[in-house]
């Protein structure tokens, strides 16, 4: 048998397999007309949810169901749209997966929950609430809004969040922030690693806390911050040229804690861990 024949057979087999798999998939679409600042919630037991903005005053939901062991309960009450994956008898985490793609007006506040899959929300100017157990959370390009996230051990990535009221709590998941600024940014994890890369804004309060997870902060030379970093049992490493503070609420221990300011010290930054390592780096 020639190579060409084998490739051809493999291609046919692949097509048959894909066709067989997709034969059990069901695609559903829901459309709702809403007013200004609608509230949209999507509760998915298993599977990804993607929320993106769209022009107009409609909420458009595309859902792919991977078996007949799950159905979607969709409901609109006034300016509120609720969608929920409803598990049926015989469902398992594998066969009850639903993939949601949701388009909402940019001023829609969104609540998203799933055990697994990627939970992705982007380009909104309203509040975002996300809960996921092991789900991977990605939030980007959110302005002037509350961003509240809770995960068990799912990693969280925040990118380009401006003027946000950001609260992230992940028990075991890593939390990564790129260009995230307050007025308020509170990040906490028990064993996850916390990474911040940004300028800490102007005039905000930032609090990054962990138990055993490391905390890394990379800031530009022109940052305007008042930093307090303490690790009870871990190290504090710094290569940023902070100015020393003369009046502190505690006596800094070299290698374990650090207190300093940069620029006009506009933003307050508190980094605290029990046994993790804190590292401050200049970008």
């Amino acid at each position: 048998m020639g190579t060409g024949q084998r490739v051809g057979q493999l291609a046919i087999l692949t097509v048959v397999c894909v066709a067989t798999l997709s034969a059990t998939d069901t695609k559903k679409e829901f459309r709702y007309t809403v007013g200004p600042k609608p509230a949209v919630s999507i509760y998915n037991e298993y599977g990804p949810i993607s929320v993106k903005p769209a022009e107009g005053n409609q909420v458009i939901v595309s859902a792919v169901l991977h078996s007949d062991k799950v159905e979607i309960d969709a409901d609109q009450n006034g300016n509120r749209v609720d969608l929920k994956s409803h598990l049926l008898s015989g469902s398992t985490p594998q066969n009850s997966q639903v993939e949601y793609e949701v388009l909402v007006p940019p001023d829609a506040s969104v609540t998203v929950r799933s055990t697994s899959g990627v939970l992705h929300v982007e380009q909104l100017a309203a509040d975002v609430n996300i809960e996921g157990d092991s789900a991977q959370v990605e939030v980007r390009d959110i302005n002037n809004a509350h961003v509240h996230i809770k995960t068990l051990n799912g990693p969280v990535t925040l990118t380009n969040i401006r003027y946000g009221h950001v609260e992230v709590s992940s028990v075991g998941g890593d939390i990564t922030m790129q260009s995230v600024s307050g007025p308020l940014v509170e990040i906490s994890s028990t064993s996850g690693r916390i990474r911040y890369d940004g300028d800490f804004g102007i005039g905000g309060e930032y609090k990054l806390t962990s138990h055993t997870g490391d905390i890394d902060a990379t800031i530009p030379a022109d940052a305007s911050v008042d930093v307090t970093a303490r690790s009870v049992k871990g190290d504090v490493q710094n290569d940023f040229p902070f100015h020393a503070k003369t009046h502190n609420s505690f006596v800094p221990v070299p290698g374990r804690s650090l207190v300093g300011t940069a620029g006009k010290a506009a933003s307050s930054v508190l980094l605290r861990t029990f046994s993790g390592r804190i590292r401050l780096k200049k970008r």
């Binding site: 092991s134 995960t151 068990l152 028990v171 138990h211 605290r272």
Partner: protein, 209 residues
């Protein structure tokens, strides 16, 4: 006579003091006839239950406790006010053995029907708990109850993270004990509890249908 009116004179009927009207209703109403037959069967069975009188010491202990709590006054006779066996006939006397039998039957029914299902659906949670959490404190019991509500595929992950959070709380408590005037240590302990709150929130939200 309606069924409701009949049920009001049911105790008299069971005591053998039925009037003609209730007897007529009993003959014409199949449902009430079945009810009376069932109650009579239970009464007959209840008569065979062994009767054990609690000892005087038991009554005395109960009386002393009630007196100590100010719920009763000093006894007026040697046997105590609790031990005053009434010889007066009560039309509701028959309710006691019936209630006992019904409660026993309900208990047996519930136990025999639920036990296998619970074992099949929710294996003993303590088995999935880390050894360090299988204690008897209130917090540990709360944790066990929480884990019992978590779906089996996620239970191990929750148990692991619960262990981490409890460790966080312990460390933060020790840190605060060593630095009682440190305001940040106090906040740190609050952060640790908030982590536990996060975990509980997630688990509870998951368990809500």
């Amino acid at each position: 006579m309606t069924c409701t009116e009949f049920q009001q004179v049911l105790p008299d009927l069971l005591e053998g003091q039925a009037g003609g009207e209730s007897t007529a209703h009993l003959q014409s109403c199949h449902a009430c006839a079945e009810l009376v037959a069932d109650l009579r069967a239970i009464c007959d069975e209840a008569q065979h239950l062994p009767l054990a009188e609690p000892s005087d010491r038991v009554w005395a202990n109960i009386q002393r406790t009630l007196e100590a709590e100010g719920l009763v006054r000093t006894p007026m006779q040697a046997g105590g006010i609790l031990f005053q066996p009434s010889r007066q006939w009560s039309p509701f006397k028959w309710l006691a053995p019936i209630s006992a039998v019904l409660a026993l039957a309900a208990g047996v029914f519930v136990y025999s029907n639920r036990r296998p299902t619970q074992v099949a659906v929710n294996p003993p949670v303590s088995a999935s708990l880390p050894q360090s959490q299988a204690g008897n404190s209130g917090a540990d019991l709360d944790d066990e109850q929480l884990l019992a509500q978590v779906a089996p595929p996620m239970r191990a992950a929750y148990a692991d993270n619960l262990k981490s959070v409890n460790s966080f709380i312990r460390d933060a408590q020790q840190d605060l004990e060593q630095n009682p005037d440190d305001e940040e240590a106090r906040h740190f302990l609050m952060d640790a509890y908030e982590q536990k709150e996060t975990l509980y929130d997630l688990a509870m939200n998951r368990s809500v249908p």
